[in-house]
Every structure is written in C-alpha cells, then in structure tokens.
C-alpha cells in the first residue's frame, strides 16, 4: 500500500494549529500551576507562606514526627484499600448486570441509582447516609460510627465510578469470543474467569486505582460519617487548611505528588513492557 502524501494544510487550518497549541498549553498551565506552587513552597524556609526564604527540608522532618498526620494517613490508607476492593467487586456485578441483561424489572431505576452518586453533592450523600446509620443504630445497636461507616459512604460513590469504568470496557468487548468459549463447552463461570476477566482486567485495575484515590481524597463524607478517634488524613489537612496557609500541608502535598508521579511512571513503564511482550508473542504465534 502506498502512503498518501501529507496534505498541505490550507491557511486557515495552519492558523488553527497555532491557536490549538496556545490553547492547550494555557490550559495545561492552568491545571498544573497549583501543583507546582505546592511543591515549590514545601521547600520554603520562611514563616511567611508566600514569601520565599530559601531552601529547607525542615517541614519534611517535622512531618515524620507529626502523629496526627501519620495516624490519619494510616486510617485513610486502610479505608481506601477496603473501599477500592469492594467497589471493584460490586462495580463488576453492577456493570455485568447492566451490560448483559438488557431487560429486567427496575433496570431504569438501577441505571439512575448507579449514575446519580457521580454528581450528587457530597453533603447530601453524607447527611442522608448518616441519618440512616443513626436510625439503624437505634434499631439494631450497630454500627458504631468510625472506619466502617466511612467505608460505607466511600463505597457508595466508589461503586458508581467503578461501574462506569468497567461498563465502558464490557460494552466494547466482542461477544463472539464468549460465545465461542461457550460453544467449546466452557461453563458460564469458566467463560467469565478464563475469557472475560483477562479482557477486562485492565479496566478493573484502573477502577481500583480511581476508587482508591477518591477515597483517599474525600473529606466531606468522612466528616459526616466518622466517629471519635477516626480522623482521616483529608480531615486533618482540611482543618489545617481552613485556618490558613500551613507549610505542613505543602509538605504532605509534595509527598503525595511524589508518590503519584512515581506510580504513574512505573505504571506506564510496566504497561509499555506488557504491550511489547504481547506484540512479540503475537508475532511469534504468527510465524509458527
């Protein structure tokens, strides 16, 4: 096949390219400027948070002894881990139900209930869930407000996000692959674990990471649903940020951004390697 020659763009499109570059650059500058500022000022050796007073690492060494932040981080990580795992399990079920069963009673209601938490203001979700838990506690004597109840709140939102991510992938799957496995005698569960699961694994992974981050970041639901002694990291950060500029918050931000950057670089590297290996295997299989 001969390649088509590169088309010569008309004048208005060339002008458009300049505009496109400028717009995208300005947009990304807007998105990344605050992140850059957070990191820069975490190394600021000055009691005044907006005045540069030289380089220091003192905020980080103080962070290592800040038990409030470390306890909060530990609790947040536990909740985020449980939340992401449960959200992916429930989200897979819900996505499966919505993609594979086109007709069942109350399907419209289910679609609504899956999508609504994506946009519902958090104060409403937090308040309603808390009032339900209080009523429940009065009738049944449990649950105490604490880690479990925060987890429930996060799971409600997390499941919605997980369902949307997994649903998108399930819809793109070629149903013939599953049908072929069935024709070859695989039972439904075998079809799921041997054919479907490997194909949607990547979307499960991104759903897990997304719900993990969302949970790690939430302050409103946690504030409503937490009890005495269960203060998550965002709650600590929020109460300090409310009072004004605080270098310890900048230090936390730099640590978070560093971890995310490492994870993204590592993740894309692993992904690229897996892709290469798959390409090699396909090429080998084609040769054989």
């Amino acid at each position: 096949m001969s390649r088509a020659p590169k088309p010569i763009l008309p004048a208005y499109q060339r002008r458009g390219q300049w505009l496109a570059r400028a717009w995208l650059t300005a947009g990304f500058a807007f998105l990344y400027l605050p992140i850059l500022a957070l990191v820069v000022y975490s190394f600021n050796n000055s009691p005044l948070p907006t005045v540069w007073g030289g380089f220091t690492l003192q905020w980080f060494s103080k962070l290592a002894h800040d038990t409030e932040i470390i306890d909060g981080l530990w609790l947040s990580l536990k909740i985020a881990f449980c939340n992401a795992t449960a959200a992916v399990l429930l989200g897979t079920l819900a996505a499966w139900a919505l993609v594979k069963f086109k007709r069942f009673g109350g399907r419209t209601l289910m679609v609504g209930m899956v999508n609504a938490p994506l946009v519902m203001p958090e104060v409403i979700i937090g308040l309603s869930l808390l009032l339900m838990l209080v009523s429940m506690q009065r009738w049944l004597g449990f649950p105490e407000r604490g880690m479990l109840t925060i987890w429930m709140g996060h799971l409600l939102v997390g499941m919605a996000y997980a369902t949307v991510v997994i649903q998108a992938r399930l819809q793109d799957l070629n149903p013939q692959l599953e049908e072929a496995a069935q024709d070859l005698g695989a039972r439904p569960l075998q079809v799921f674990f041997l054919v479907t699961l490997p194909m949607i694994a990547q979307s499960l992974m991104s759903a897990w990471l997304l719900t993990f981050t969302l949970s790690l970041d939430d302050v409103v639901l946690a504030a409503f649903l937490s009890g005495p002694g269960s203060t998550t990291l965002p709650m600590v950060i929020f109460s300090r940020a409310r009072l004004g500029l605080d270098p310890s918050v900048n230090a936390v931000a730099t640590v978070v951004i560093g971890v995310v950057a490492l994870a993204v670089v590592g993740g894309s590297y692993a992904l690229a390697r897996a892709e290469r290996r798959r390409a090699q295997e396909t090429a080998q299989a084609a040769r054989a």
Binding site: Q13, G16, A20, W23, L24, G27, F28, F30, L31, Y32, L33, P34, I35, L38, Y41, P49, T50, L93, A94, A97, F101, F104, G105, G106, M110, V111, G112, M113, V114, N115, A116, V119, M120, P121, V123, I124, I125, L127, L131, M132, L156, M159, Q171, D217, V219, A223, P234, I237, F238, A241, R242, L245, V249, N250, A253, V256, V260, A263, V264, S268
Partner: protein, 308 residues
C-alpha cells in the same frame, strides 16, 4: 421485589443483578427516604417523634412543615439557594468556554500525542483535590504568584469594576477566588466527556460539509457542535450539579459574601445540631437538582447506547 417477577433470569443472573441492586436500594434510596421523613419530624430532645402514632384508637399523622415554610420565607435561605445556582451556572459556562476548545483541539491533535494529552488531563485527578484547592489559597493571597501577575496586568481594576473583589490586590475570599477554584476543580470533568464525544466523530461528515461548500467555521457550528450535544450536556451536568452543593471550595476559597447552600447545610448540621432543618435544606437542594439530574442520566444512557 421487581427483579423476581422477571421469568427469564436464572438463579445466578439474579444474584448478579440482585446484590448491587440491594446495596443501592439500602444505601442510596433508603437514606433519602429517611431524610425526607426527618425533614418533617419534630425533634424531642434526642430522638425524633414518630410520624404516625396510634393512641386510644386514634391514628395520627403528624407532619411538621415549619422548616419548609421557614426556608421559603426566610430571605437568607432564598438568597443562598439563588447564589449557589448562580455560581454553579457561571462555573459551568466558564468550564464550557475553556473546555470545549480544549477538548476539540485535543481530539483533532495527531493520533500519536492524544493518549499523552488525555493522560495529562487525568493526572491532576490522582493528586488530592483538597490539596489543589488549598494551593489556590497560596496563589491568590497577597504576594502569591497569580496575585502578582494579576496586579502587574491591572486585572484587579477590571475585577473591582465588576464588583468581584472589594479592593486592589484582595483576591482571596471573594466571588472571584471562589469561581476560580470551582472552574479549576471541575474543568477536567467538562473536558473528558467532551473529548470522548469529539474524538469519536466521523470526520467524513466534515469532508462532506466541505465538499458541499461549507467553510470550516460554518461546518464547525452546523456539524461539529450539534453532533457533540451529548458531550456538552454530560459535561455541563457533571460540573453544574456538584457545584450547587459544593462545600469544600466555598469554605476554603469563599468569603462572607459567598455563602453557598452546601455550607448552610453543614452549619445547620454541625454547628446548630438542627437535623430536621439540615434535612429540609437537603430536600430542597435535591428538588433543585432533580431536572439537571434527569438530563444527566439521559445523556449517560444515550452515550452508553451509542457505544453499541
């Protein structure tokens, strides 16, 4: 329940549908009903009175509607709801104004760079939203980077003329800082659905328009924009609805002038401990976002159907 009536579903299929369904009913639907109930309940020291009582053969239904009367009559609540809707609408319009060209240029960039651009839009998601909002506090405070630039460009004069900030150099805790924070936070929520929509557009339609004599500008308004309506609706609702009830951003970046309904609800609950009042505020808020919510749901299911 409705599921069990459907005859075609097998036992395992019913589990697949039933487990998430039950969870959603229990933790999403039921709480709303409870909020509705508490909003019309009388509070007796610590417990709520039952709505329906049965004493001496008399069945009594007591609804306390005074909270709702109060909300409709009190000027503060009315103005706060109005302000929330206004700030949410302004934020949505600005996000669309910045985000549509952004998503458009992303979708028309060469195929090789598109995954990278998409990644860069999503990356800020992975770093804490709370910390990024806090960052604006530093940027807009006196001596902050953005404040200095705005001062140098004399943007503050324009903002004072628009009554968005009270005086020169005072950017923090104003309507201006609030809107900046909300646009910043919700911009990716506008860009992503628009990009998903625009990148799937059939380019042959534009070629056809050009063959039929349309200029690029006319083709953009007559072909591209109408075709991306689903993305516009989804993105706008993803921005508008959470903005109406936003709490963290007005608390960190807003000021005394920018009271929003999320903060009022929070204060009723945490400061005044008035749970029925907080519930009433929540119910009215839900009523306000019901129509946008229905629009969003429709756009979502249309998009899901379109993928097939």
């Amino acid at each position: 329940m409705a599921i069990s009536k459907t005859p075609h579903l097998s036992w395992s299929a019913r589990t697949v549908v039933g487990v998430p369904y039950l969870w959603l009913l229990l933790c999403f639907m039921l709480p709303f009903l409870i909020v509705l109930k508490i909003s019309v309940s009388e509070m007796e020291t610590v417990v709520f009175k039952d709505l329906i009582t049965w004493t001496d053969g008399v069945l009594q239904l007591q609804l306390k509607l005074s909270n709702y009367l109060f909300i409709t009559q009190d000027d503060l609540y009315f103005r706060t709801y109005l302000a929330s809707l206004k700030y949410a609408a302004v934020t949505t319009a600005l996000c669309l104004l910045i985000g549509y060209p952004f998503a458009y240029f992303m979708a028309r960039a060469s195929k090789a760079v598109q995954p990278g651009l998409l990644m860069m839009v999503m990356l800020p998601f992975w770093t804490s939203f709370l910390l990024r909002v806090y960052a604006w506090k530093g940027l807009l405070s006196e001596g902050g980077w953005v404040a200095q630039v705005l001062d140098a460009l004399h943007v503050d004069q324009v903002l004072i003329a628009l009554a968005l900030i009270p005086g020169p150099g005072q950017y923090m805790n104003t309507p201006f800082s609030l809107v900046i924070g909300m646009v910043y936070t919700y911009l990716p929520f506008m860009i992503l659905p628009l990009y998903a929509n625009l990148s799937k557009m059939d380019m042959r339609l534009l070629e056809a328009a050009s063959d039929l004599g349309a200029t690029a500008w006319v083709a953009f308004w007559k072909v591209t924009v109408p075709l991306s309506r689903g993305g516009i609706v989804a993105g706008s609702m993803l921005v508008f609805i959470p903005c109406v009830g936003e709490f963290v951003i007005p608390e960190l970046l807003g000021g005394p002038q920018t009271l929003m309904i999320g903060r009022v609800l929070w204060d009723e609950f945490f400061a005044n401990n008035d749970w029925p009042m907080a519930s009433s505020v929540a119910v009215v808020m839900i009523l306000l976002i019901l129509v946008p919510l229905a629009l969003f749901n429709k756009a979502q299911s249309d998009a899901q159907e379109a993928r097939r």
